[in-house]
């Protein structure tokens, strides 16, 4: 059985063997003949083999899951493989591939009379236009109107005329302040030199007008703007947590441990370091914010819990046109 297979194979080999093709005279070469470069060939082959070894190292490294610095070795294997591959290409390109530089002349310039004809063609095509000023005016009107139509959507970026919506917040007179844990904030729990985030009870916390930052200062240190008497019972102040510059959350409170020799208390926005003085109605003392943080008037109810005594002093959120104009 095995022998039979060998015989078939031998017969196929004999029959299938072709006679060598007849030798033709070699056609004339286009590229001039050069000497063979066995050393360069050897270098290229060696570099390619090295690339192969490194590339093969990648799956091998991948297989060892517990290898320390595995990621680094993976990168090294792949990187070296690419480096050897490009080195092989460089050597082959510079030593094995024949290169030749040829120059080609620019075509001669076009005929001058042809250009003259083109100019006349253009001038004579305008024969039908007799009232060019009227047409130019109409085209200008169309262009201006179209431009206006294109820039109209800019108005949607901010409300220039109706800013009332920005003062619409969940805070009403009597709304309780609750902490992040949902418990009501008590006036006697609010310590100095630290800060609290509070929300209106039962309202959507994601709403821009919801979060306030609550701090306590010695009542004697307060220099609130006129008309805000009684807004800060026991020196407890509440300001909108939304920075009036770009709408980030105010979550830095500069609280000096020993005031005589340290920077004074300040609410700071972490985005662009707008700095507000809580003692002076959150007046901007540093940074890009254009107006103070809106203040929420507070009151303490009979059971000692903090409640809002009304809405914010100003529109909440970043400033623009109409809102900035209302700055106090």
């Amino acid at each position: 059985m095995k022998l039979g297979r060998w015989l078939v194979a031998g017969a196929l080999l004999l029959l299938g063997r072709r006679r060598p093709p007849p030798r033709l005279p070699a056609p004339e070469r286009i590229v001039p003949p050069g000497p063979p470069r066995p050393r360069a060939e050897l270098v290229v082959a060696a570099l390619l083999l090295l690339a192969a070894v490194c590339a093969a190292g990648f799956p091998v490294t991948y297989a060892f899951e517990n290898l320390g610095h595995q990621t680094q070795f993976l990168g090294l294997a792949l990187g070296l493989a690419f480096a050897f591959l490009s080195a092989a290409c460089i050597v082959a390109g510079s030593h094995l591939v024949v290169t030749e530089e040829l120059e080609e002349d620019y075509p001669p310039p076009a005929h001058p009379s042809e250009q003259d004809a083109l100019g006349r063609l253009f001038a004579e095509s305008g024969d039908h236009f007799t009232r060019s000023r009227l047409l130019l005016g109409a085209a200008g009107a169309a262009g201006t109107a179209l431009l206006l139509a294109l820039i109209t959507p800019v108005l949607s970026l901010g409300s220039l005329f109706r800013t009332g919506a920005f003062s619409d917040t969940p805070w009403r007179r009597g709304t309780r302040l609750v902490g992040e844990d949902g418990r009501a904030l008590r006036a006697d729990e609010i310590a100095e030199k630290t800060f609290y985030t509070a929300f209106p009870e039962g309202a959507d916390r994601e709403e821009l007008g919801s979060p306030v930052v609550v701090v306590r200062l010695p009542p004697g240190d307060l220099r609130l703007p006129a008309g805000r008497r009684g807004w800060a019972p026991h020196g407890i102040l509440a300001y909108s947590k939304i920075c009036t510059h770009a709408g980030c959350a105010i979550n830095l409170y500069r609280a000096p441990l020993y005031e005589p020799v340290e920077p004074r208390p300040a609410l700071v926005c972490p985005c662009h370091y707008s700095t507000f003085d809580p003692a002076e109605g959150a007046k901007v003392i540093f940074g890009p914010a254009g107006r103070p943080l809106p203040q929420l008037p507070l009151m303490v109810d009979a059971s000692g819990e903090l409640r809002a005594a009304g809405n914010f002093s100003d529109a909440v959120g970043p400033s623009w046109w109409g809102v900035r104009g209302k700055a106090t």
Partner: protein
């Protein structure tokens, strides 16, 4: 009986000697500011907690009052530290040195709490940052006890946090997160000091970029016009 009495009396006597040594150090290095109203806070009642924090971090003594304290070389050996802390604690009743147990904490809770309360100034992995007119120091060298102390004290312009804001249990988690963030799991590869995208940019643009230009110069050929 007398042996027991002696054994009991000895630490007391040693303690008193230490306090005396602490008093000597206090009048030598601290009193010039802390005993003067308006130059530095009085230390009566600050307790061992504040003394331990400021002395073991090298925040104190300061060069001059009003300077922002920063982590520096601790000027005292262990015995001097202990006696100075004991002396300051003896000035009036105050909080003792906290004993946090970060191993009890939960890393996920710590990350959330740190992000909420600390990262505004200290940045997400405690690399430190800026506040107008002061610096939020990196937390890379702070010990668990020092972090627990700082959170409750609020040194310099840092706010302090009450137990309602960060409970002791949550504080353990915060500390665990801070300690853990020092040894990140660099799954992505070469971390280059874990200082963020800057070294990566330097490597890719300066080193790799100039290497590529060098290779181009090496293999290219200048055309003679």
């Amino acid at each position: 009986m007398s042996v027991l009495a002696a054994a009991l009396a000895f630490p007391v006597a040693a303690g008193r000697a230490d306090v005396a040594e602490g008093q000597r150090l206090y009048s030598q290095d601290c009193a010039s500011c802390h005993d003067v109203r308006g130059r530095a806070p009085a230390l009566r009642g600050v307790g061992a907690r504040a003394a331990d924090f400021y002395l073991t971090t090298g925040y104190m003594p300061l060069g001059h009052p009003g300077e922002e304290p920063k982590r520096s070389r601790v000027r005292y050996d262990d015995r001097e530290l202990r006696s100075l802390i004991d002396y300051i604690a003896s000035l009036g009743p105050g909080p003792g040195i906290p004993q946090p147990q970060p191993e009890r904490g939960n890393l996920a809770v710590g990350l959330r709490s740190f992000t909420q309360h600390c990262s505004g100034c200290h940045q997400v992995v405690g690399e430190g940052g800026y506040v107008p007119d002061s610096v939020a120091w990196p937390l890379k060298k702070a010990s668990a006890t020092q972090i627990a102390e700082a959170v409750r004290i609020g040194p310099y312009v840092m706010p302090h946090f009450t137990k309602r804001q960060i409970s002791d249990r949550e504080l353990d988690s915060v500390i665990r997160f801070v300690l853990d963030s020092r040894h990140p799991d660099n799954r992505g590869g070469w971390a280059i000091g874990n200082i963020g995208p800057v070294p990566e940019g330097l490597v890719s643009w300066l080193i790799a970029g100039s290497a590529l230009v060098g290779v181009c110069l090496l293999i290219g050929k200048r055309n003679k016009a």
